[in-house]
């Protein structure tokens, strides 16, 4: 069952894997956030979700249930007026 769901998830989120190959390089901005923990040492690790942690029923009709947003072109289009002046 898990294998089935993982393959489904990959279909829906092929993007997650592909994203690493894209060419756009966005230079990260320096954010002015200072976290002061005083003398305390903070040890932490970033935890990303793991596909293997996700389980779901194989009977879900994901294709009908989710209309994946591939882009926000209508939104970009509707904001264009601001630049006409």
């Amino acid at each position: 069952m898990n294998k089935y769901f993982v393959s489904l998830t990959i279909v829906f989120f092929t993007s997650a894997a592909l994203s690493q190959d894209s060419d756009i390089v966005r230079v990260p901005k320096k954010r002015r956030i200072t976290l002061n923990f005083g003398a305390d040492m903070v040890k932490a690790n970033a935890e990303n979700p793991d596909l293997s942690n996700i389980h779901a029923s194989k009977n879900f009709n994901w294709k009908k249930m989710i209309k994946i947003k591939e882009n926000f072109i209508p939104e970009v289009e509707s904001n264009g007026q601001a630049f006409e002046k």
Partner: protein, 490 residues
Amino acid sequence: MDKNTINSVKPLMDSKKYQQAVPILFKIAYGNSNQITPKQKTIAQQWLGVALFRLGYNQAAAFPLIASIGQADQSVSEKSILTLIQITDKLNDKSLLSYAVSKLDMNTKLSKEIFYTKSAEVFLNQDQVQLADENFLKALQVNPKNENALYQLGLSYLKKNNPKKAYSYFEQLESLYSGKSILDEKKGLATLAIARTLYQAKQWNSAIEAYRDIPKNYEFYRQSQFEMAWAHFRSLNFRAALGTIETLQTPFYETYYDPESLILRMIILMFVCQSEDLNSAVQKYEAAYYPMQKQIENWQQKNSTNSDIIEMIRQTNLNLKLVQNGYQQKFKTGLPFYFVRTILSDKKINSQHKLISKIKEERIKFKKSNLYQIKSLRIFFEKIYTSRIQTAQQKIVTDFKRAVNVQFNDLKQYNSQFELIKYEALGIKKTQLKLASQMTVSEKNSLESNLQKSSYYSENGFRYWPFDGEFWIDEIGNYQYVGINRCISE
């Protein structure tokens, strides 16, 4: 010297005494005197347009200017077209712009940049994208910092599904505002366009970073949160996505019609098998959005008249002001209030609505001025204002009906998604109850059950909100979803 000749008005125009010049120019331009030559009439029309424009009567100024274009020699026509273009920018009136551009001639001394940009805008309005792009590219060759050309070319490449190329244009655009506050409208929109481009390029983390640059008090913050939730969802950051969506569901944003974010929330809750939260979201959707389909269908069958629709729009705007000032809305028309409110934010409706507001403001200004005392001017102005308002209202009605159809079809889609979700939600609940009954006590003693014992869980479930009382804008965006994945291997 006759005081009603072009020569007598010139000193008034030169010394910017437009208020005094207008009645004389009007008499020359539209009077029946046989002593005035056609050339003088045309010059008077052009000067009248300029004088009215300088006095802030943009709508009224357009008409004598249009009359002068084509009648006069080239230099007078050029001046009239340039003033008309300035007016179209102020009024954001595409029909006027289309007329002005149709009269433009590349051999004139007009700025090439204006020519290419305005031509491109007209082509874009007529959905001739290829021609629009060609003109925007030419405008960029003249001025590489042309904001509209950069934005529209970026958009064009998004439509061609080439986010990399689109990004290069949006990046150039954003760099134009590097010294400005993020609250600057254009800078915010450029950042938002970059975030959307990165989303389309499926670079979720970079997109999320860009969305985070949008401040809470920015006009499009709410929209950016919805889009960021999608980016989190697609990068499989379910908790982060839910936390972002919780922001959209707060009382701060309760005046918005937003079935889409609730559907997204339900889908993510299904992914993490949070059946209790899923059930509450299902109930919320069922009460707020599901019945709307029937309401809209009934309204569409009623065939409302144009005046019914205009009245509904008026009522919506009045009620929106009531709601924004903390009062209860008293909306009693065929369509749900929040639905109509969303329709009114449609680009074309909004633009016509703003145009009507500007014409009405201009009309009030005119009524307060000394010019209103002159009968012939009063008739001339009123005729313009009445016909322009009627034309704009007709466009609004057409666009309103179109937008209702679009939203109705979307709602039908959401409702069919919802029906499936509701069915699956029952299945999840059933499976969880069955498996829970087979668990040992130690298995049940999870992080989640610990959370359930804490005081905030009893009040808010898995929504963690670190503030008390009312919702303020600086607190928005601080929701955290603390539920865990409850899916259990079958």
